[in-house]
Amino acid sequence: MSQDVKEVDAKGYWRAVLTLTISLFVIWFLVSYGAGILFREFLDQFSVGGAPMGFWFAQQGAIYLFGLLILYYCIAMNRLERKFGVKG
């Protein structure tokens, strides 16, 4: 069993996890604080269906994208765990 502990490239795995996490948080920030708050007025000149785009992001879009972010994270983490031989 002590072999198993050493075989896992813990540093490489953790670095990959951090890269994934940071990238997803950039998107998280952009779709909520970005599109829904900071750039809302700019985006409001476009529309999603009959809703101003910034307003739509704040009340609908951000929530959908949060869900997709978590889904993608789960899938990407499975892939990382397989790649680094980590027991999921």
Binding site: D4, V5, W14, L24, S32, I37, W56, Q60, F66
Partner: protein, 589 residues
């Protein structure tokens, strides 16, 4: 009203049945449902745990009045799940213990840190629970003809049964049932009201579609309607961008730091299951949270269409001949006050004050172009409650909505009770004061603590009616969770060098500063122009959180690093399966 009673009795019977089925046998059952709840079921339980009476009854109405300003709740209360899924839940699950103070105590190798975390967790949970019990009392007294205090006692008795017998296991499976009741009761009326306003059965699509019978979008029509009456445009807000940013942040990070939400992720089998479970939870929450803004907008439009400029009919609807009076008004070319208005008026949630004495109900904003004064004041909660009648749905749907509101309040209250009881039996008794206690005694104390917490929560609910500021103290729960618990849990996982001294100073700073700011600006100095750079008490937790994290880091850097076994622990919880592998490899460590 009979339908309400029927549904409440049926749902309560289901909850008790689940409690009998899901008795807890061990402390692991009692605290974390044996660590073997399916991720999707836990997601559902988390959704019910999380969505309180406020989410269910008040949020859509709040958004109806705040328009764009209501977005802080929508983004804040869902975005926190991304933080949970990516930063906290899988690692805390990998850590594998029972409570949030458990993690804090072990990670920061300190009884003091554990006790401060207990104080934070208890304080947050008790503030939150008072509001839930109040919701139970209101539901009973308004819709079931049961006296307010008696309503709270009935609610307490139900929670008492399934929380003390079943512990987390009982709470989990009742929450699953409560989620189903809640979401069904919320979406059915939403679909019908969407059909009425937009002709589209899916509220989320109706929200961005055209208003029925016009080629104008629903939101554009709403904007035109509300500005015409002197309100602010629906898609705008008068809050500053900075304040909107900070409130959203405080709610998001607060969500991720709430102990009753975090402990739900201890109930699944692995780090991987915790990740999926957070995804499921957000999916189940999103069903309500994307419906709510649509319901809010539809309800506002409908309210103005049907109530504004309507001719008022005096008297109690059960005693007068409403139909005849309404027909007379129509014959005169007028618009009678709708039936649902007269029905709900009795609950005190709608108020009409005929300022200009013309018998017509003028609904106006602060800048009304025609200069008329507002005469109609609806309570936020009315929109969800009255929806089934506005949509002319059969009586049983209303019963369902009442049962749903009770499900929302009871499920959240139960989750909070588990935090309180485990903090007492596990963190205070077993881990601090009586370390040689056995499992059986701990279980007994956990049950007693859960029972005592139910009683305390009920008394809070009864006592809280005399306090005018129950709704306002909710800002406490989120602000405190964001500023005191989130930074040290996050740093505890992602920064190995974070030590005991840093954690203690950070938690105390977050707790005290946020507490002071909210108390000061909510109760002592209520002038918003004195707020720190225009940030409201609701948003301050977000700012304090960053400062608390920074202070924690600085203090850690100037004091001794954590001992080796703690640094190893941090490395281990980052990599699923590592703790077990290490334990097998070096059992004598």
């Amino acid at each position: 009203m009979d339908w309400s009673l029927t549904f409440v009795i049926i749902t309560f019977a289901i909850y008790i049945g689940i409690a009998i089925w899901a008795r807890a046998g061990t402390t692991a059952d009692f605290y974390v449902a044996g660590h073997d709840v399916h991720p999707a079921l836990n997601g559902m339980a988390t959704a019910a745990d999380w969505m309180s009476a406020a989410s269910y009854l008040s949020m859509a109405g709040l958004i109806a009045f705040l328009g764009y300003g209501g977005s802080v709740y929508l983004m804040g209360w869902t975005g926190g799940y991304v933080l949970l899924a990516l930063l906290l839940a899988p690692f805390l699950r990998e850590f594998g213990k029972f409570t949030v103070p458990d993690f804090v105590g072990d990670r920061y190798y300190s009884v003091a840190a554990r006790l401060i975390a207990v104080v934070c967790a208890m304080f947050i949970s008790f503030t939150y629970i008072a509001g839930q019990m109040k919701g139970v009392g209101v539901a009973f007294s308004s819709f079931l003809g049961v006296e307010y205090n008696l309503g709270i006692l009935i609610g307490m008795a139900i929670v008492f049964v399934y929380a003390t017998f079943g512990g987390m296991k009982g709470v989990t499976y009742t929450q699953v049932a409560q989620y189903v009741v809640m979401i069904f009761a919320y979406t059915v009326p939403a679909i019908f009201i969407s059909l009425i306003i937009t002709g589209n059965p899916i509220p989320q699509l109706g929200f961005i579609g055209d208003a029925k019978g016009t080629d104008m979008s629903m939101l554009a029509k709403l904007n035109e309607t509300v500005t015409g009456l002197g309100f602010q445009a629906y898609t705008e807000t008068d809050k500053s961008m900075l304040d909107v940013f900070c409130i959203t942040g405080a709610l998001m990070f607060g969500t991720a730091g709430l102990p009753h939400v975090i402990i739900r992720f201890f109930t699944v089998s692995s780090a991987k299951a915790a990740r999926y479970s957070a995804g499921w939870a957000l999916l189940f929450i999103a069903i309500l949270y994307t419906t709510a803004p649509a319901v809010g907008a539809f309800a506002r439009l409908n309210f103005i269409d049907t109530v504004n400029e309507a001719t008022y009919i005096e008297g109690d609807i059960d005693e007068i001949d409403y139909t005849a009076a309404a027909e007379a008004i129509v014959a005169d070319g007028g618009k009678p006050v709708p039936t649902w208005y007269k029905t709900w008026e009795k609950t005190g949630l709608l108020k009409y004050d005929d300022v200009n004495g013309d018998g017509i109900m003028q609904y106006r904003g602060p800048n009304a172009p025609d200069g008329l004064a507002n005469e109609v004041s609806p309570n936020n909660d009315i929109f969800v409650l009255a929806n089934p009648q506005i949509a002319q749905l059969p009586g049983w749907v209303i019963g369902l909505v009442v049962a749903g509101g009770l499900a929302a309040a009871l499920s959240t209250a139960a989750g909070l009770l588990m935090v309180i009881s485990s903090a007492v039996s596990h963190d205070l008794c077993r881990k601090t004061f009586f370390k040689d206690m056995d499992d059986k005694t701990e279980m007994l104390i956990a049950r007693l603590a859960a029972g005592a917490a139910v009683v305390a929560a009920g008394l809070l609910g009864i006592f809280a009616t005399s306090l005018p500021f129950v709704a306002q103290v909710v800002a406490f729960a989120f602000g405190l969770a964001a500023a005191s618990l989130f930074p040290i849990i996050f740093l505890g996982i992602f920064w190995k060098r974070m030590n005991r001294e840093g954690a203690i100073v950070s938690m105390l700073f977050g707790l005290v500063t946020t507490f002071w700011y909210i108390v000061h600006f909510k109760f002592v100095d209520t002038d918003p122009s004195h707020w720190f750079t225009g940030i409201s008490p609701e948003g301050i937790g977000f700012v304090v959180m960053w400062v608390a994290a920074l202070i924690g880091i600085l203090v850690s850097l100037v004091t001794a690093p954590p001992p080796q076994h703690v640094q190893d622990l941090v490395e281990d919880i980052r990599i699923p399966g590592m703790q077990e592998a290490r334990a097998t490899a070096a059992p004598a460590e």
